[in-house]
Each structure stands twice: as structure tokens, then as C-alpha cells.
């Protein structure tokens, strides 16, 4: 009796009767077709686009996808909004750069591991005092830690190069893992002969393109599995109400700290890879500008969904590094105006549409009313405004 009843029940919420996917289904499973299509399109894109400048900027954008997704697993999911994500990115990047400068024998792969370790450690160190903090306190604490790291680079100016940064970092070409992945995929997509016939710099661009793509797919895929699985649900519950989560038996500290460390580790990896793609590191990797840019990306894409910030990163970063430069010379002569423009846009968006741009748009496109809130858009409203 009871067993049949229970067995029938789950069908009810998933279909909901109206033919539309239920909020639960959306929450637990984003459309897998779209998710598979994206990396495949990106994989074969170089076959049709031979503008290497654009491809190079897409590679950079792919790195930013990792920055944004790693930010999201902490900030968008648990609601501990990090205002200094650059601290983790920069730690990863400088770890790789310093190793390359002082221990050139250390392999690139090991350097990336070190970047992950260093960033994760920093995540732990910041995460512990931040455990009890909310909203403004967390914001200021994370912001000031990133600021302190900038100062550290000045204190160790001889090592870090101060404002000039470090150049000549070993690149993806110099790492056997990254080079194998990059070359293999380049030959697969472009054809082996075409690739071999390219100049060294073009080869480097293609290798960067494919390496960043592979890293991104693995990282974002992993974060999505986590975020849309059981643990993701627990992280969301923490954002919604910490006390209620504890009453439900959630080990709050473990999850919050875990999210902090994971977010930091992923950012460190992405930052380290960025150093190997650029071949240089500089203060822009620690600056508040970068931290804010990530928040901008998330605000446009919708936080708490991993995929939202990931798509947002492509839009914002390609605008910033490619399309804006071609729109007007003003941005070429004054690159600092780009972040200013984005900041201004963000302010306007926050005032007129506090849930970000993409999530409500998607809702309208897919015919969902505002009745059910997209899981992705809760950052600004639900993130910290506790009475």
C-alpha cells in the first residue's frame, strides 16, 4: 500500500501537470544538451575562425570563465560574497611565476599544483576568520586581504618586480602536459599539416586556446556536478538560512570552509594557468579591479548557477579585450575607462534590475513567469540581507 504510494509520488513534482519543467527539475538539472553543445562549439570554433587575435582573447575569456565559476561556488552558492577573489587568482599566478623565475627546473604541472596549494592555503587562512562574518564584514575582510597582497608584492619588490611584475614566465608551450593537450587538439581540429605549417606565435595561440578550453571544461564541469548535486543543494540551503541548515543537521563550518577552500583552489589553478598563458604576471592579477570585474560578470550572468557566470565571462571579457577596442579608439587610448564603463553599467543594472540581466531574460525566453525564481538570481537579494 504505502510503497506504491511513495513510488508514484515523485512523478508528480517532476511533471507538475502543466507540461513545463518543474522548478525542482530546473534546479537540479540544467539542460544537458546546451551544456554539451557549448564546449563542442568552442572546440571546433578555430576551424572556422582564423582570427588569431580573437582566438587569443577567447582563450583569455576562457580563463575568466574559471575565475567566475570558482567565485560562484563560494559566493553565489553559500552567499558568502567574496569581494577579493583576485587574492586567490593572484596567489596562483605569482606562485607559478616565482617558481618559473627561481626554480626553472620545476615542471609546469608541478607549478600549477603549487598554485592550487598556495591558493587553497590562503583560502583556509582567510576562510577561518571569515566563518562568522556576513555581508559587509566579509566584503571588507576579503577586499582588504587582496589589498594586503598588493602591498606584499611591493615589500618583496626584488622578487615580484613590484609594479612591473614578472616577465618570462614559462608558458603552456614549455609544459609537457599543456603542450601535449594543446598540440593534440590543435592537430585534431585544424589538421596536423595546417598546424605544423603555422608560425611559432600562432602555434602558441592555438595551444593556449585548447589548453584553457580543456581546463575550463574540466573545472566548470566538476563545479556544476557539485553545484547541481546534493552538496550544491546543501550549499544553497546555507545561503538561504544558516540556522535552519544547522537545524537540518548540516555541518555548517565544514561546508562553508570547504566552499572557501575549493573556490580558492580553483581560482589558484586558473590564475596559475593564466600566468602560463600570458607569460607574465603583474599587479592587475591582484587588483580590486579584477575582483570587481568578476562580480560584474556574475551580476550579468546571474550568480549561483556556475553556468551563468561562465557565459557572462565570455560576454564581458570579449567586450573588454576585443570588441570595445574596435568600437572606439577612446578605449584603446584609455583602457582604464573600460572597467569604469562596466562599473557604471553594473550600478545601473543593480538599481533598475537587481537580479542581473541574463536570468530574467532567460526566464522570459523560456516562458517562465516570475512566479518561480530562477535559482541563479538570488545573490543580490538573498545574499546577506538578514534582519
Amino acid at each position: 500500500m504505502t510503497s506504491t504510494k511513495v513510488a508514484e509520488q515523485p512523478a508528480a513534482p517532476s511533471d507538475g501537470g502543466s507540461g513545463r519543467p518543474s522548478p525542482l527539475k530546473r534546479l537540479l538539472r540544467p539542460n544537458p544538451l546546451i551544456l554539451l553543445a557549448l564546449p563542442i562549439v568552442l572546440l571546433y570554433l578555430p576551424r572556422f575562425v582564423d582570427n588569431t587575435t580573437l582566438l587569443q582573447q577567447i582563450a583569455v575569456a576562457t580563463i575568466f570563465v574559471m575565475f567566475a565559476a570558482s567565485w560562484d561556488i563560494l559566493s553565489g552558492y553559500t552567499g558568502q560574497v567574496n569581494f577579493g577573489h583576485a587574492a586567490f587568482i593572484g596567489t596562483g599566478a605569482y606562485t607559478v611565476a616565482l617558481l618559473s623565475k627561481y626554480q626553472p627546473d620545476v615542471s609546469n604541472e608541478l607549478a600549477l599544483l603549487a598554485a592550487v596549494g598556495a591558493a587553497a592555503l590562503l583560502g583556509l587562512l582567510i576562510g577561518i576568520p571569515c566563518l562568522r562574518l556576513k555581508g559587509p564584514y566579509l566584503a571588507l575582510a576579503t577586499l582588504s586581504v587582496a589589498g594586503a597582497l598588493v602591498q606584499l608584492t611591493f615589500i618583496f619588490k626584488t622578487q615580484t618586480g613590484g609594479e612591473d611584475g614578472i616577465a618570462g614566465v614559462k608558458t603552456v608551450i614549455d609544459g609537457s602536459l599543456t603542450n601535449t593537450i594543446g598540440e593534440g587538439l590543435s592537430k585534431l581540429v585544424l589538421g596536423p599539416l595546417t598546424f605544423s605549417g603555422l608560425g611559432g606565435f600562432d602555434q602558441y595561440i592555438y595551444v593556449s586556446y585548447f589548453v584553457t578550453l580543456v581546463f575550463m571544461v574540466v573545472m566548470v564541469g566538476g563545479l556544476m556536478l557539485l553545484g547541481y548535486g546534493k552538496r550544491g543543494l546543501v550549499l544553497r540551503s546555507i545561503q538561504q538560512d544558516e540556522l535552519a541548515a544547522e537545524a537540518a543537521g548540516v555541518p555548517l563550518t565544514r561546508y562553508k570552509l570547504g566552499a572557501f577552500v575549493l573556490s580558492a583552489a580553483c581560482a589558484g589553478l586558473a590564475g596559475g594557468l593564466y600566468a602560463q598563458v600570458r607569460g607574465t604576471v603583474a599587479l592587475d592579477l591582484l587588483a580590486v579591479d579584477l575582483s570587481l570585474l568578476i562580480i560584474i560578470i556574475a551580476a550579468f550572468g546571474g550568480a549561483g548557477s556556475i553556468i551563468g557566470p561562465a557565459i557572462g565571462a565570455y560576454v564581458v571579457v570579449l567586450l573588454q579585450n576585443y570588441y570595445l577596442d574596435r568600437a572606439t579608439d577612446l578605449f584603446v587610448e584609455h583602457p582604464e575607462l573600460k572597467i569604469g564603463t562596466f562599473a557604471l553599467l553594473l550600478i545601473i543594472v543593480l538599481i533598475v534590475q537587481p537580479r542581473g540581466i541574463v536570468p530574467p531574460l532567460l526566464q522570459r525566453l523560456s516562458g517562465r513567469g516570475s512566479a518561480t525564481r530562477a535559482a541563479g538570481a538570488t545573490m543580490v537579494e538573498g545574499g546577506g540581507a538578514k534582519p
Binding site: L140, S144, A148, I295, G340, T341, I347, I351
Partner: protein
């Protein structure tokens, strides 16, 4: 002795920045990440005026007024529409800080600038030789703070502000409009921060990222002193001010390590005593 005199002067300037930050938090529940930008706007506006050949005193007044105006604009245009969304306010004010930074960089480039001193030469106080500009800055800051504290404690307006800081709902019942008070406090806080920017401009350096350190220091002070607590703010300013000078004098390359020490203070306080050492529960 060096540290004592210099520490006192630095504390006064820091308190000028922190007081506004803390009051705005206490009164409006608003953490304004653009607070350091008022400091920068004050400094750069004064610098811009002095570049046009205006007398220094006029430049200084313009600097303070510009910062005050910026405070009013920020409150009206940005904060008011999203006042009750804490995280949105944080993000928007950080965006404003970056917007201002980007604007300053556009007009003045990333190079370091400096305002000519209001006074030059050195004086000797208690056997300590000091740049006169620093002494002037410290003294003006001190007088301003004492005035602000007197206004807060002795006048009806001040009592109204403190009433709102203590209990917004209750103060609404007795006919105070907290929104109004928030605007005033933000404007005045911005002016105070702008004044601090003007005062330090002759001996600090002006760069587009100069807003971050005062913001961090104000945060450290608020954490140490407790939320919205006025005596706490003043006392914590003294602690941070002395620490600042102590590090600057006694540690190699101290000047650039000041920020680090501030952050260490922040993190240590958060671990040891998140409610601050003097104030209400800080969460």
C-alpha cells in the same frame, strides 16, 4: 617621543575618515565601500584647483565641498534605490569606487601627484622635529573631530543622529526621519573624509588607487571599536594611528607595510573578538 607625537597626529587624520564611515554604518546600516573615494576626491579636487593657480586655501575648500557633493550624489542616486539590499549596496558602492578610480586615472593618469604644502618648513614640538604640513593636518583634524563630537553629544541634531544609530524604528516613532539623517550623515562623513584627503595630500602621494588604504583602515577601526560606537571609533583610531606610525618608524620599509599591519589587525580581531573590543555585536 617621535612615535607619540606623530602617532597622535596620524590618529586624528585617520579618525576623520573612520568617523564618517562608522556613523553611516550606525545610522543607515550602510557599509559604503566608496568611502575611501571621498578621501581621494577631496585630495584630487584640491590638487586640480591648485593646478589652475587657485590659492591653496580655496583649493582645500573646493576639495572638501567636492567630496561632500559626491556623498550627496552617492546617497541620492545609488544608495537610496537599493538601501535595503545589503549585498547590492556593497557591490554598487565598490563599483562606484572603481568608477571614480577609473575617472581619476583618465584625467590624471596613473602617476603619483602631490599637492604643495599649505605651510612649509619644520617645527620642533617636545623635542621632535616635524614637517609643518603634518602638524597642521593633525591639528586641523583634531579640532574638527572635537567639533563633530561636540555636535553629536551636545546639540539636538547630534542627539537625533545618535537616536537613529541606536534604534531606527524607535526614532521613527518620535518623528525623526532616518532617511534624512542618513543623507546628512553621509554628506558630512564624505566631507570629513574629503578633508582628510586634502590635509594629507601635501605629504602623501596621490594615485588613482589611494582610496583603498583609508577604506581598509576605517574598516579596521570599526572592527576594533565596534559598530557605530563613537567612543570606540575614536579610541580605535588612536590605536590604528599609533600602530601606523610605529610600523612606519620601526620596521624596515615601514611605510609600505602599514597596510599589511592593518589587515593583520583586522583578521586578528575577527578571530579573537568579532564583536569588537568596545562595541556592540559586530555581525
Amino acid at each position: 617621543m617621535d612615535v607619540l607625537v606623530q602617532g597622535a597626529l596620524t590618529s586624528a587624520v585617520i579618525a576623520l575618515v573612520a568617523l564618517g564611515f562608522s556613523l553611516v554604518y550606525g545610522v543607515g546600516g550602510i557599509v559604503n565601500l566608496a568611502h575611501g573615494s571621498f578621501f581621494m576626491i577631496g585630495a584630487y579636487s584640491a590638487y586640480a584647483m591648485s593646478e589652475t593657480g587657485a590659492p591653496l586655501l580655496v583649493s582645500a575648500v573646493v576639495g572638501v565641498l567636492a567630496a561632500t557633493l559626491a556623498g550627496v550624489l552617492l546617497e541620492r542616486l545609488v544608495i537610496t534605490p537599493i538601501r535595503h539590499q545589503e549585498v547590492a549596496v556593497l557591490i554598487a558602492t565598490l563599483a562606484v569606487a572603481i568608477l571614480v578610480q577609473s575617472g581619476v586615472q583618465f584625467f590624471y593618469g596613473g602617476l603619483e601627484r602631490q599637492l604643495p604644502g599649505f605651510v612649509s618648513g619644520a617645527v620642533t614640538v617636545f623635542g621632535v622635529t616635524l614637517q609643518q604640513t603634518r602638524v597642521l593636518a593633525g591639528l586641523v583634524a583634531l579640532v574638527t573631530i572635537v567639533t563633530v563630537l561636540l555636535v553629536l553629544t551636545r546639540t539636538p541634531t547630534g542627539r537625533m543622529v545618535r537616536a537613529v544609530a541606536q534604534d531606527e524604528e524607535a526614532s521613527r516613532l518620535i518623528g525623526v526621519r532616518p532617511e534624512r539623517v542618513t543623507l546628512y550623515v553621509l554628506a558630512i562623513g564624505a566631507g570629513l573624509a574629503g578633508l582628510a584627503g586634502v590635509l594629507t595630500a601635501p605629504y602623501g602621494v596621490l594615485t588613482p588607487t589611494m582610496w583603498l588604504l583609508p577604506l581598509t583602515q576605517a574598516f579596521a577601526i570599526v572592527i576594533l571599536g565596534g559598530l557605530g560606537s563613537i567612543p570606540g571609533t575614536v579610541l580605535a583610531s588612536v590605536v590604528v594611528g599609533f600602530l601606523d606610525r610605529f610600523v612606519a618608524f620601526n620596521v624596515k620599509d615601514g611605510d609600505i607595510k602599514v597596510g599589511l599591519v592593518t589587515v593583520a589587525v583586522i583578521l586578528a580581531t575577527l578571530v579573537l573578538r568579532p564583536q569588537g573590543f568596545l562595541g556592540k555585536v559586530a555581525r
